[in-house]
Structures are given as structure tokens and as C-alpha cells.
């Protein structure tokens, strides 16, 4: 073994950059969160300005919190810890910078495009196709930089934090690429290649695993580095690390369908989602146990060290949320919780508590090292901890109360078997006090983050003129190294003779085999990829191939060109953020909204719009429910027709012109995706104008304003009046249907 020492340094400048971006975008994400929280309690704050409405700002909030705040925090922590755990400087400074600036540009692009209504309409994956491509490219840059650093490493075995980083990088790439597949209709508009049930499945395969592999695995990796470092204690159990890592990576992938219980998703998929969610409980708690028990013998430090306080609360919230998750995935619990604020409470426990507090703890620990001076104020960090904790608790408790209250109100019947609260808005008004408590919680959390900004700035001000760059020494890896045979079996200490098999079982149980993998990053990464891909395919293949999952409904026809355009407005305005289009088979829902949703109704929905939260009522069968004029007045001023409504006003829909010139291209793209468009392939624009004229005339007849034919509102009304009406439409005779598949739809309402 040649032991020639190599000299190397670490790149901490890139870590400083990512830390700064984390803090800046954290404040932005929390601030936007507070704005939209106030909008729900006080809709006047939407101010009648399109780019300030809830439907457009809510995706901005979620994207900023997940990809800008948490994303930059992950990168900061990964760049800092990986270099030290691998005893190697990052492979390429150029790639590091390309990663950093590329990611920030993507965030800026998101911050501009989302308020403008440029969105693909899929939750947590709203960014349009050019940005999606940029994300994929930057991710590849990051991956190359990271894996080449592993290749150059001077530490033989990979520490558990690195395992989690590997799982993150591989899986996020797979999720992002396959969920985002779409065909562009223009630079800012594309249609998902999946439709209806399949799109919903892919979206929640992605959505759930974004939580898993963007907000869980990388943060577990950070925890495994920063927590033992800050506490100066060994990790509780190496074996537990191994078992909970692999079970987490394998099991998480399956659990996505628990977001779609009682929907048109086939029941087998939903049941699988529930089962794997329950199995996920202990693998998740493995991380919590390893985190909290690592602090054994260091608890006295927690009382005086804000960094450890943040870590302890973060890991506790992680444990709470990963218990709540399996609980919510149980179908009968989900029947109550789905579409309510309970889900909102659950995710904020995770993001504010786990991701937020782990990040804050990490930053407070890093600042003195990165700025090479002591933290400006430990007291201020203590203040941040306490005010942040109170903020999270106010947030979560108020949303639990709101969610359970509204869920129970939706389901309540009186003695005669009729809905006790038939008027939806009644259930909304009941939540208002809770919504104000949430606002207060958010403000406290933001106040804490601002304390962090001050502390960071003041610490940075005290930095030395020039940062020291310590030089480290370690021998290069010996490429001919062979893992020594594991000879340490406890069976050997026993005088009795054991058969060979016993040694093998013992070796497996003690996870001694795993040590070899830790020295072979390529093998390790391949196994991670296999675990993720195999688990995915088990659900994806049947979802796409089994015809009986989505029984055809003959009366379901494609949207007319105008309705398609109206649907695009629905997506752009982010209506799906507050309205579901998925009626579950409960009498409480069918009495309120109409027939429960059938899988065959969504076959032309690229993308699906089932939604995940009912801040307003379900819209799947809103078609024909109200006269056209009602919609005009409702969009202009919702409170005029529904007193107490918290919906924003949409006056610009009555002013903005429908871009008839764009419609043909969109119809063509839909046809490319397999939507049987027939006649509309040649004369989409004419058909759209005809239908718009009809609707506009009807609005006038009902006593509404004239001259709306060319306005967006008419296209949106065309879509809304179509929603859910195909199911019970009589099927036309064969010949006519083939010749004129879409023209007849406007007649009936």
C-alpha cells in the first residue's frame, strides 16, 4: 500500500454562495406564503391584479419554498459535507459555478413566469418546458460534479450521508424527467403527454417522491453529517443506517397513490399506496431514532446550543410528520382529511419544522466556519428558535383544527339524510378565525428568519480580510484495494460449532456485506437506481397497460377548440389550487356535487386537473349548473353572487381578448397526443368563434353585458359549462359522431 500523501483544500466559497441564496429565497418563500395566507382570510388582498391572485402566487410559494429555499440549503450542505466526507475538493469549480448560477436563473425564471400564469398546471411541477429542460441540464451538471468528486475521493468508504445524496441525485432526475414529458404548443405552453388517470398517477408518483427525494433523503444526509458534528457524538447505529436507508429508498416510491384515495384511480393502486405508506413508517423513524439517539450523552449541550435545539426540533417534527403521513394514507382517515387543511398542516410540519429548522441549525453551525469568526449573536439565534417554534405550532394546530372542522362539515347529514351544510361557503366562513391564526404563525416564522438574516449579515461583516484556506493531507485511494474478509463474527467466540449457513445468515444480519458496497460507489448507485426504477415500474406498467383501469365511456368526447382554450385559462389562473375536479363516491359528495367521477371521463385531460385542496367547491360537474350570466358576474365579483366567498375577483377575464390565432396549434398538439379531433383539425378557429358568438348571445339574452364574444371569459365559460356533462349525454348514432365529433356540444346548455 503506497501511502504518498496528497495535499488538497476545500471549496467553501461555493458553500457561502448557496447559503446566501438559501437565506434570501427563504425570506421570499415565507413572505409569499404569508401573503397568500392573508388572501384566503381577506380576499381583497388579491387586489384585482392578475399576477397577485392566489391561484398564481400559491405555485410561486410552493416552488420557492421547495426548490429555492430547501434546494439551495441542500446544495450548501451537500457541497460542504461531501468534500469533507470524501476528503476531496469538488471536482470542478466551473461545474460548481454553473450549478449555482444555473439554479438561481431557474428560480428567477420561475418567479417571473408563475405570476404571469405560465404554468403546466401540475402541482409542484408547474414550470413550463423550457425551464424544465434547464432544470434537467443543471441537475446533470450537479451530478457530474458530484460523482466525479466521489471518483476522486481519498476516503475509501462512503459515509451514510453520501448514500442519501446519491439517492437524491439519481431519483430526482428520474422523477423530474418522466413527470415533465410534454409536447410544446408554443414557447410558454405545453401539454402533458399523459392524460387523466395516468397523468394523475404520474403526477403523484412525482409529487410524493419530490417530498421523498427532495425534502427527505437529502435532509437526512445533512442530518447525518451536521448532527453528529454539532453534538460531537458518534452516530447511534450503523446497522440502522443501512436498513432504514435501503427500506426508505425502495418503499417510498410506491406510496404516491395515497394522494388519490377514492378517486378515479383504480382501487388496487390506491391500496398499494396505502400499504407502502404504512410500511414506510418505521424506515422513516429509523432516521429519527438515529438522529435523536445520537444525542445521548450530549443532551446537556442542547440547553445551551441553539444549533442543537434547531436539530432536535427538526428531527422531532420529522418523526411527527412521518407518523402523520402513514396515518393520513389510511383510506378511512383520508376520506375525512383529503381536500382539507389537514394536508396543509401536514406538509408545513414537514417543511417549516423538518426542512426549515434543520436548515437553520445547519446555517448557524456553518456561519462561524464559513465566515471564520464567531457567530454574531447566540442570543438572537435563541430568539429565532423560540419564535420560529411558536410560529410552527400556531400554524399546524390552526390548520389541524381547520381541516378537521371543514372535513366534518362537508360530511354532516341532518336527520332526514340531507346535507347539514349544503352551502359550501358556510364551511369556508367557519375557518376564518383559524386562517388568521395561521397568518400570525407565518409572521412569527418569518420574523425568526429575519433574525437569521441579521445574524448572518453581522457575522459576515466580522469576517477576516482574507479567508484562510487550510490545506489537508491524505493518501490517494489505492485502486487495487480489496475489502478484507469480515472475520469478526460473534459466532466465533462461541465454543459450539455452527454450520456454514449460520455464518452467512449472521453476516447478512450484521450487514457486514454492506461495507464492500460502500467502497464501490458505482455498484452502490446502480443498486439505488434499480431499487427506485423497479419499484416505480411495478405500479407504472399496470397503470398504463391494463385497459380495464380506465373503462371507455362512449359519450365522452374531446373539448371543442373554444373549451380547450378556456381550459388553458383555467390552468393559467391556477384554478386547480382551490378547486378539485374529482368527486369521490360518498353520498356527502354526490349530493353536493353530482355523480362521482369515472376514470373514462378524463381521457382527454392533458394535463389532469383533479386538484388536491377544496378551498372552493368541486367543479367536476359544474357544467350546466348555473346560467352563463351567473359565471360572468361571479368572475367579476364572486361576493355579488356568493356572499362570504373568498375567491379573488377576475375582472381582466372580461377585458382580455381570446387569442383565436393560437387555438389551431393547440388543437393540433392535442391531436398529436391522440385526441380524436376530426373536423376541428382544419377549422378550429372558426368553430371557436362560432361557439363564442353563441355563448355571448346567451349572456345578452340573460340580461348581461354585450360584446363579450372575443373575451377570455366566454372561453372559460365554454369550458366550465362543459365540465362533467358528457357522462350522461345520450350517445349519437355512429355516422354523425364520426363526421361531427365536437360541434354538437354547445347546444345543450
Amino acid at each position: 500500500m503506497s501511502a504518498q500523501l496528497e495535499k488538497f483544500t476545500y471549496d467553501d466559497d461555493i458553500v457561502r454562495k448557496f447559503c446566501l441564496a438559501t437565506v434570501i429565497f427563504g425570506v421570499v418563500a415565507f413572505l409569499v406564503g404569508i401573503i397568500i395566507a392573508i388572501q384566503l382570510a381577506w380576499p381583497e388582498l388579491n387586489m384585482g391584479i392578475s399576477w397577485l391572485t392566489f391561484g398564481r402566487l400559491r405555485p410561486l410559494h410552493t416552488n420557492a419554498a421547495i426548490f429555492a429555499f430547501a434546494g439551495n440549503a441542500i446544495f450548501a450542505g451537500m457541497y460542504y459535507s461531501s468534500q469533507r466526507l470524501l476528503k476531496a475538493r469538488m471536482f470542478s469549480r466551473a461545474l460548481s459555478l454553473a450549478h449555482f448560477w444555473g439554479w438561481q436563473l431557474i428560480i428567477v425564471a420561475a418567479a417571473v413566469s408563475l405570476p404571469l400564469g405560465i404554468t403546466s398546471g401540475k402541482e409542484y411541477a408547474e414550470l413550463e418546458w423550457p425551464i424544465d429542460i434547464a432544470i434537467a441540464l443543471v441537475w446533470v451538471v450537479f451530478a457530474v460534479n458530484f460523482f466525479c468528486t466521489i471518483w476522486k475521493r481519498r476516503e475509501r468508504h462512503l459515509y451514510v450521508a453520501i448514500w442519501f445524496y446519491i439517492a437524491t441525485i439519481i431519483t430526482v432526475a428520474i422523477l423530474h424527467i418522466f413527470n415533465s414529458l410534454a409536447i410544446p404548443a408554443s414557447l410558454f405552453k405545453s401539454y402533458s403527454i399523459y392524460a387523466g388517470v395516468q397523468d394523475a398517477f404520474m403526477q403523484w408518483w412525482y409529487g410524493h417522491n419530490a417530498v421523498a427525494f427532495f425534502l427527505t433523503t437529502p435532509f437526512l444526509g445533512l442530518m447525518y453529517y451536521f448532527m453528529p458534528k454539532a453534538a460531537n457524538r458518534p452516530v447511534f447505529s450503523y446497522r440502522l443506517s443501512i436498513l432504514h436507508f435501503w427500506s426508505l429508498v425502495f418503499i417510498y416510491i410506491w406510496a404516491g397513490p395515497h394522494h388519490l384515495h377514492y378517486t378515479a384511480l383504480p382501487a388496487w393502486a390506491s391500496t398499494l399506496g396505502m400499504w407502502f405508506s404504512l410500511m414506510l413508517w418505521m424506515p422513516s423513524w429509523g432516521g429519527m431514532i438515529n438522529g435523536l439517539l445520537t444525542l445521548r450523552g450530549a443532551w446537556h449541550k442542547v440547553s445551551e446550543e441553539p444549533v442543537l435545539k434547531f436539530f432536535v426540533v427538526a428531527v422531532t417534527f420529522y418523526g411527527m410528520c412521518t407518523f402523520e403521513g402513514p396515518l393520513l394514507s389510511v383510506k378511512s382517515v383520508n376520506a375525512l382529511s383529503h381536500y382539507t387543511d389537514w394536508t396543509i398542516a401536514h406538509v408545513h410540519g414537514g417543511t417549516l419544522g423538518w426542512n426549515g429548522f434543520l436548515t437553520f441549525g445547519m446555517l448557524y453551525w456553518l456561519f462561524p466556519l464559513l465566515f471564520q469568526t464567531r457567530l454574531w449573536s447566540k442570543k438572537l439565534a435563541e430568539f429565532h428558535f423560540w419564535i420560529g417554534t411558536v410560529g410552527i405550532l400556531l400554524y399546524i394546530v390552526s390548520m389541524w383544527a381547520a381541516g378537521i372542522t371543514q372535513g366534518l362539515m362537508w360530511m354532516a347529514f341532518d336527520q332526514t339524510g340531507r346535507l347539514l351544510y349544503p352551502d359550501f361557503v358556510e364551511t369556508t366562513l367557519r375557518l376564518m378565525p383559524m386562517y388568521w391564526v395561521r397568518v400570525l404563525g407565518g409572521i412569527l416564522f418569518l420574523a425568526g428568519a429575519l433574525a437569521l438574516v441579521v445574524n448572518m449579515f453581522m457575522t459576515w461583516k466580522n469576517r477576516p480580510k482574507k479567508y484562510e484556506e487550510p490545506v489537508y493531507e491524505a493518501p490517494a485511494l489505492d485502486r487495487s484495494y480489496q475489502e478484507p474478509k469480515d472475520e469478526s463474527s460473534p459466532l466465533k467466540d462461541n465454543p459450539a460449532h455452527f454450520p456454514k449457513l449460520a455464518y452467512k445468515v449472521d453476516r447478512f444480519k450484521r450487514a457486514a456485506w454492506h461495507r464492500r458496497w460502500e467502497g464501490l460507489p458505482l455498484l452502490f448507485s446502480v443498486w439505488v437506481a434499480i431499487a427506485v426504477i423497479v419499484a416505480s415500474l411495478f405500479e407504472i406498467i399496470p397503470t398504463f397497460l391494463i385497459k380495464s383501469n380506465v373503462p371507455t365511456i362512449e359519450s365522452v368526447k374531446p373539448y371543442t377548440p373554444l373549451e380547450l382554450y378556456g381550459r388553458d385559462i383555467y390552468i393559467a389562473e391556477g384554478c386547480y389550487n382551490c378547486h378539485s375536479q374529482m368527486i369521490r363516491p360518498f353520498r356527502a359528495e354526490t349530493d353536493r356535487y353530482g355523480d362521482y367521477s369515472k376514470p373514462g371521463e378524463f381521457v382527454y385531460d392533458h394535463p389532469f386537473q383533479w386538484g388536491s385542496r377544496r378551498i372552493g367547491p368541486d367543479l367536476q360537474r359544474v357544467g350546466g349548473k348555473y346560467p352563463d350570466l351567473w359565471h360572468v358576474r361571479h368572475m367579476r365579483e364572486p361576493r355579488e353572487v356568493t356572499p362570504g366567498s373568498v375567491m379573488p375577483v377576475y375582472p381582466w377575464l372580461l377585458e382580455k381578448d381570446t387569442a383565436y390565432g393560437k387555438i389551431q396549434k393547440r388543437v393540433d398538439v392535442m391531436a398529436m397526443l391522440g385526441v380524436p379531433y376530426g373536423e376541428a383539425l382544419n377549422r378550429a378557429e372558426i368553430m371557436a368563434r362560432d361557439q363564442a358568438a353563441e355563448i355571448a348571445a346567451r349572456i345578452v339574452e340573460q340580461g348581461g353585458p354585450a360584446d363579450l364574444a372575443d373575451k377570455e371569459i366566454v372561453a372559460l365559460i365554454a369550458y366550465l359549462q362543459r365540465l362533467g356533462t358528457d357522462l350522461n349525454r345520450p350517445v349519437e348514432p355512429e355516422g354523425d359522431a364520426a363526421a361531427e365529433p365536437v360541434a354538437s356540444m354547445t347546444e345543450e346548455h
Partner: protein, 218 residues
């Protein structure tokens, strides 16, 4: 995998940037719950996917039938729909309370919260476009006025609900709420006794003139 004193907190010879690892065994309760979560759910699957009447849709259908049976019983007990039966509903407090809620949820968006009129006509004045008898109102609600945007609620609501609503609309006649819409249609002086006398005179022709509520409920 019980924790025994010997291998508790044994340090492994791992060292990463100063971080060490213990070789502690997996906590027994952790392993136990993990196994339980793996083993238990297949039983759930076998039960809920293994027989008629246990799936979500089967349960839903059963709940709808149970509710339908309850409504059908009430309707059969009621007999033919006449001004008299509908007027009788108006004294049934439970029915009127339910109908008032239905009015708020289904009708108020066009006719106003108190029937004062909005997109749709004022229901509290003496003017009626499609007839002011309770049976007229019943027919208007059931068949709708599609050209004016009034839906045919017969397709969307149960018969019992429509009957209660028709009776309820009769009770807000003359309420004179604030901000009422100006009158539309023909003036109509509602005289229950006269209508009942008329119905009594026509009674011998029964059942040709009346509808069978049970048939309409399907």
C-alpha cells in the same frame, strides 16, 4: 435482536471527518413494528378486495339505496301531488327547514339569499312568469326554463327535495325583502281555498290528472 450489554455502544472503526459510528443493534420495537406493518396490510387487501359489498363503490351504492328507500317510503305515504299536499308541507317545520337550506345552496345564486331576485326573478312578489300555484312552481323547478338559464332540477335533485322546495317558495311569497328585484311576469293573487275547491271539483277524474310520485322518482 435483544439489546445485550456486550455489544451496546461498541464503536466501529469508521471515521469520517471526525464522525464515528456505533455498532448498536436495531431497536426491538422498531423491528417488530416494521414487521407488523408489512404483514398486516395483506389481510386488509384480502378483505376489502376479496368480496362483494366491500369496495368503496359497493359501499357507496348501498348508502344511496338506503337513503332512496327512506325517501321512497315518505313519497308513497304522501299520495298524488296536489296543491293541497304541497300546502300541507308548509306546516311541516322539519321539511321547511331542510328546504330553506336547499334554497340557499341551490337557488340563491340566481334568486338571491331570500328570494329577492338577482339573475333570476324575484320570488317574493305577486308577479309570476310561469304560474304562481305551488304545483306550477313544482313544474317550473322540475322542467326548468332552459332558454332563460333556469335549470331542469328534476334531473339533479330528488323528487322529495323538489316538492319541499316548491312548498317553501310559497312561504316566502310577500316577504318583501330589501333590494328586491322589480316585478316580472303577470300579477297573480294566490288564493289557496279557491284552488283547493277547484281541485276538489276535478277530483273525480283522478288519477288521470295527477302524477304518481313514486314513478317520477326513478
Amino acid at each position: 435482536m435483544a439489546e445485550n450489554g456486550d455489544n451496546k455502544d461498541r464503536l466501529l472503526n469508521h471515521l469520517y471527518d471526525g464522525i464515528q459510528e456505533f455498532d448498536n443493534p436495531l431497536p426491538t420495537w422498531w423491528v417488530a413494528i416494521f414487521w407488523i406493518s408489512i404483514i398486516l396490510t395483506p389481510f386488509y387487501i384480502i378483505y376489502y378486495h376479496g368480496g362483494d359489498g366491500r369496495s368503496a363503490i359497493d359501499k357507496y351504492n348501498a348508502s344511496v339505496l338506503a337513503h332512496f328507500d327512506k325517501q321512497a317510503e315518505e313519497l308513497l305515504a304522501m299520495g298524488p301531488i296536489t296543491e293541497g299536499t304541497l300546502a300541507g308541507f308548509q306546516t311541516d317545520e322539519a321539511k321547511m327547514a331542510g328546504a330553506a337550506q336547499l334554497f340557499v345552496s341551490k337557488c340563491s345564486s340566481c334568486h338571491g339569499m331570500r328570494g329577492e331576485g338577482n339573475i333570476g326573478p324575484n320570488l317574493t312578489d305577486e308577479y309570476w312568469i310561469h304560474g304562481g300555484r305551488l304545483t306550477d312552481i313544482y313544474r317550473t323547478i322540475t322542467d326548468g326554463v332552459p332558454s332563460k338559464g333556469m335549470l331542469a332540477w328534476g334531473k339533479q335533485m330528488g323528487l322529495g327535495d323538489i316538492l319541499s322546495l316548491s312548498a317553501y317558495v310559497g312561504t316566502i311569497r310577500g316577504a318583501d325583502p330589501s333590494s328586491a328585484k322589480k316585478p316580472q311576469g303577470e300579477p297573480f293573487n294566490y288564493d289557496l281555498d279557491a284552488i283547493l275547491a277547484e281541485e276538489a271539483a276535478a277530483a273525480p277524474q283522478e288519477p288521470a290528472e295527477t302524477e304518481d310520485p313514486a314513478a317520477g322518482a326513478s
